[in-house]
């Protein structure tokens, strides 16, 4: 078990080392990075917005219920929705969802290329395949996913508003006051740190699973599943470590 962990960890590090290399032709890498930014970013906006709006809405409704008949002012609902969205819900939930959508896609794409000998074909041409196939995905994700998280954050707070103000749980003035109260800029920094780290984890782990796939369609399916499972576990672990490190 422990040997297996070290074997995969070592191979993962070696893959990343190979991936960090001078591009054979910068324009090709640039083109591929742009394509990946479009696939990962634009292709994930709808799902991210949908999830964020409901997360914000549920958070607001739940806290409104918790604060019922208490002495805590109602405007705190806006404050709690804002902070929980910025610190935890937007980066973590968004990246867990993206691990499922983007991560499985990356593992399947690279794994499919391995099985159809596309990677061998590129290797024989002299292409550094780890670099050409993986680095643009990581760069694209590290740029685009924080933007998606920022969108999720904004939409989540809007979701809280939509579920609490029109339904009469609190007034527009109370929610707005809550959202504007006790704002700490550092939490936004934490959110972006999490988003960048999670983006790196979900793309590199998924790429690793696809790049080293062997066998046929069953193994490709397993690699895709493992990409999501391991990414999710590592994202949660990183979430915990970042929380400890950045709140000391």
């Amino acid at each position: 078990m422990s040997f297996n962990f070290f074997y995969h960890f070592g191979r993962y590090i070696m893959m990343l080392r190979t991936a960090i290399a001078r591009p054979e032709r910068f324009s090709m890498y640039w083109k591929e990075t742009m394509r990946q930014m479009n696939d990962i970013g634009v292709g994930s906006v709808v799902i991210v917005v949908l999830i964020a709006v409901f997360i914000g809405a549920v958070t607001a409704v739940q806290f409104a219920y918790q604060l019922q008949d208490s002495f805590v002012p109602k405007y705190y609902i806006g404050y709690i929705v804002r902070d929980s969205t910025i610190i935890e819900l937007a980066p973590t939930i968004t990246c867990l969802v993206l691990a499922g959508k983007v991560g499985s896609n990356i593992a399947a794409e690279i794994g499919g290329m391995r099985q159809k000998e596309h990677i061998d074909a590129m290797e024989i041409m002299g292409v550094n395949t780890a670099s050409y196939l993986i680095t643009p995905k990581i760069i694209a994700a590290v740029i685009v996913i924080p933007l998606l998280v920022a969108i999720a954050c904004f939409v989540g707070i809007m979701g809280g508003y939509l579920s609490s103000v029109p339904t009469g749980l609190i007034t527009n003035a109370e929610y707005t006051r809550g959202v504007r109260s006790f704002f700490v800029e550092y939490y936004v920094f934490m959110m972006f740190v999490k988003a960048i780290v999670f983006a790196f984890i979900l793309t590199s782990v998924s790429a690793y699973q696809g790049y080293h796939v062997k066998g046929g369609s069953i193994e490709l399916g397993q690699a895709s599943t493992q990409a999501v499972v391991y990414s999710d576990i590592l994202i949660l672990l990183a979430d915990y470590l970042i929380a400890i490190l950045l709140t000391q």
Binding site: E24, R25, E117, E123, I124, M125, G126, V127, N128
Partner: protein
């Protein structure tokens, strides 16, 4: 010229190649033949550097390929073209983009120069006008020809073909064989073909190596096949009763097959 020297390869406990030593000559179509599981693909992958031998060395002319670092291997590989069994064309790219890919990646040619080169390679494999088609929109034989066009686009010194005729009808197979042979002669390159198609052996086998259970058991050319007293070779080439009768008839009437 490519030379394999005492190549051994094992996967876990299974020894797949057992001390292969053979020279693949320049300007000739060099064939590695043998039954399924004989170790042909493993040998080809070792020659091209996709697999590392357990022991033994591979020479590309006077360069010991086995001792190169990754950077040097990539430099050599830019002189190598390979046609894969399944063509390995990139599905999301058109025929033109597939052939242009090595040019985009490794050359500083202008768009016009690249297009001219792509069109020349397409013309060379008799596939003019399919630039904008995708691999899924062309037949298996055409995919092989696109694969050849991509393999030769950088003017390689070495060309490797893994089962170029698999899945093709006999007529198309002959077209592919002839194409590979003419490209080899025209460009004076070292071509290594891995095949179990006996038509290829008899048509373009200028330097043949027969593998049997991981061992090199016979070498020669197509003209030496008929007269060879190697049972393993005769079993492989004239596998069916019909072909055996044909061979016997040819021998008894002293006709050249």
């Amino acid at each position: 010229m490519i030379r394999a020297e005492n190549i051994f390869k094992s996967f876990d406990d299974a020894e797949v190649l057992k001390g292969i030593t053979h020279t693949f000559e320049n300007g000739k179509t060099n064939l590695i033949i043998g039954r399924s599981g004989a170790g042909k693909t493993v040998l080809l992958k070792i020659l091209v550097g996709l697999l590392q031998p357990t022991s033994g060395t591979v020479w590309f002319d006077d360069i010991n390929y086995s001792q190169l670092d990754k950077k040097q291997i990539r430099a050599i590989r830019m002189q190598v073209g390979m046609l894969f069994q399944g063509s390995a064309l990139f599905d999301s790219m058109s025929v033109e983009e597939n052939i242009r890919f090595p040019l985009d990646m490794f050359t500083t040619m202008t768009k016009k120069e690249k297009l001219d080169r792509v069109n020349y390679c397409l013309e060379r494999v008799s596939l003019e006008g399919v630039n904008n088609k995708y691999p899924s929109e062309v037949s298996g034989g055409m995919q092989k020809r696109v694969g050849i066009a991509r393999a030769i686009v950088l003017n390689p010194k070495y060309l490797f073909c893994d089962e170029p005729n698999s899945g093709l009808d006999p007529k198309t197979s002959i077209v592919i064989d002839e194409l590979i042979r003419s490209i080899t002669i025209e460009n004076n390159i070292t071509t290594v073909i891995n095949t179990h198609d006996m038509n290829s052996v008899m048509e373009i086998g200028e330097n043949i190596a027969l593998l049997y259970k991981g061992e090199l058991v016979w070498t020669g050319n197509k003209n030496e096949v008929l007269d060879s007293d190697s049972d393993l070779l005769q079993d492989f080439i004239f596998a069916s009763p019909f072909l055996q009768r044909l061979r016997n008839a040819a021998l008894s009437s002293n006709t050249k097959v």
